[in-house]
């Protein structure tokens, strides 16, 4: 034995030549001709069809929340009087420190000094403070609530308050006290048949 046989490299060559000759045959056999035909003849149909809508052209309005609020206010406050009364843009709107009377649909009217206005569209509310039997009572109302029949401005604050929230009026030093006399005077002046406040 003196090294590898001289015939071996020739054998390798033959195998590669055979592979080269087989290759086109093999490639041809891998193409699924029958399958391709069947695919074309019977197209695939999905069981559940998804409806595709045309794209929306854009938002109907630039501020839909504002539109919604306006629509809701139009229902709850058709005359727009309440909205105007509490509007920031109205020069004659009521301000913290004014005395208001709220007439309720079921219940007695409640009046007091306006401490706070919370402007939040349809959710706008305000806080009134009064003293009943020398006990401070505060009531929070929703401006557009159907439970409120009417809101009257009884008296304006003599000097415009320099704060938006007059919580300092809870302190005994700054407390307005009872508004009963002011309201009584107002009712006597405005309404001939007085709705007496208990």
């Amino acid at each position: 034995m003196s090294g590898p046989s001289p015939l071996r490299p020739l054998a390798w060559c033959w195998t590669s030549v055979a592979q080269f000759m087989k290759a086109p045959l093999l490639r041809k056999s891998t193409i699924p001709t029958q399958f391709t035909r069947s695919f074309i003849v019977v197209p695939y149909e999905p069981k559940r069809r998804i409806k595709i809508h045309p794209p929306i052209k854009g938002p109907l309005s630039k501020n839909p929340i504002e539109n919604l609020t306006a629509a809701a206010i139009a229902i709850l406050d058709p005359s727009g009087a309440r909205q105007k009364m509490f509007s920031r843009h109205n020069k004659d709107s009521i301000r913290p420190g004014d005395i208001l009377q709220v007439r309720r649909r079921n219940g007695d009217p409640f009046s007091g000094v306006l401490l706070n206005i919370r402007r939040r569209g349809i959710d706008t509310g305000f806080l009134l403070r009064d003293q009943l039997t020398r006990v401070g009572v505060e009531m929070w109302f929703k401006l557009y609530s159907p439970a409120i029949e009417d809101i009257d401005l009884v008296q304006r604050k003599a000097k415009k308050a320099r704060r938006a929230k007059l919580y300092y009026m809870r302190q005994p030093k700054h407390d307005f006290g009872s508004v009963a006399n002011v309201v009584k005077e107002y009712v006597r002046r405005v309404r001939p048949a007085p709705r007496t406040r208990r």
Binding site: F110, L132, T133, R134, V135, G136, V137, E138, M139, W140, F141, K142, S145, A147, R170, R198
Partner: protein, 139 residues
């Protein structure tokens, strides 16, 4: 439709003013009855009388007889005002400047014969009509 319980903040050690003429002026809450949470308007609590109403110079027999409780007595009471604001079914809120109560016996009848301040309307819902009828005003 609306919650049967009214939110309140009266709990152990809360000091309340007593607004009836039973003789108590200031009471301390020691227990809230039938409720795991702090008591609100219309809830029954157990109180200890901390301060008696001063009789002044008037020490007549009638005034003495009017005093039904003494300092240190343990008594049942009903909360009638809370400093904590609570909501009404119509969306409005109400709060008072103080916490106040009325002393009652175990049957639920008020010990005093007169009340001296405004009380919450929720008492009607809680079937405390006897207290409401004594009160000068309810809001």
């Amino acid at each position: 439709m609306f919650p049967s319980r009214v939110l309140g903040m009266v709990q152990l050690k809360s000091m309340l003013t007593c607004i009836d003429n039973s003789g108590a002026a200031l009471v301390e809450c020691v227990m809230v009855l039938k409720r795991k949470k702090p008591a609100g308007i219309g809830d029954k609590i157990v109180v200890v009388i901390q301060k008696q109403r001063s009789l002044g110079q008037d020490l007549s027999a009638t005034a003495q007889a009017a005093v039904k409780v003494r300092r240190g007595d343990v008594c049942h009471a009903v909360v009638v005002r809370t400093k904590k604001k609570y909501s009404r079914p119509d969306g409005s809120y109400i709060r008072f400047d103080d916490n106040a109560c009325v002393l009652v016996n175990k049957a639920g009848d008020p010990l005093g014969t007169r009340l001296s301040g405004v009380v919450g309307e929720e008492l009607k819902r809680k079937n405390w009509s006897k207290i409401l009828s004594l009160a000068p005003m309810n809001v």
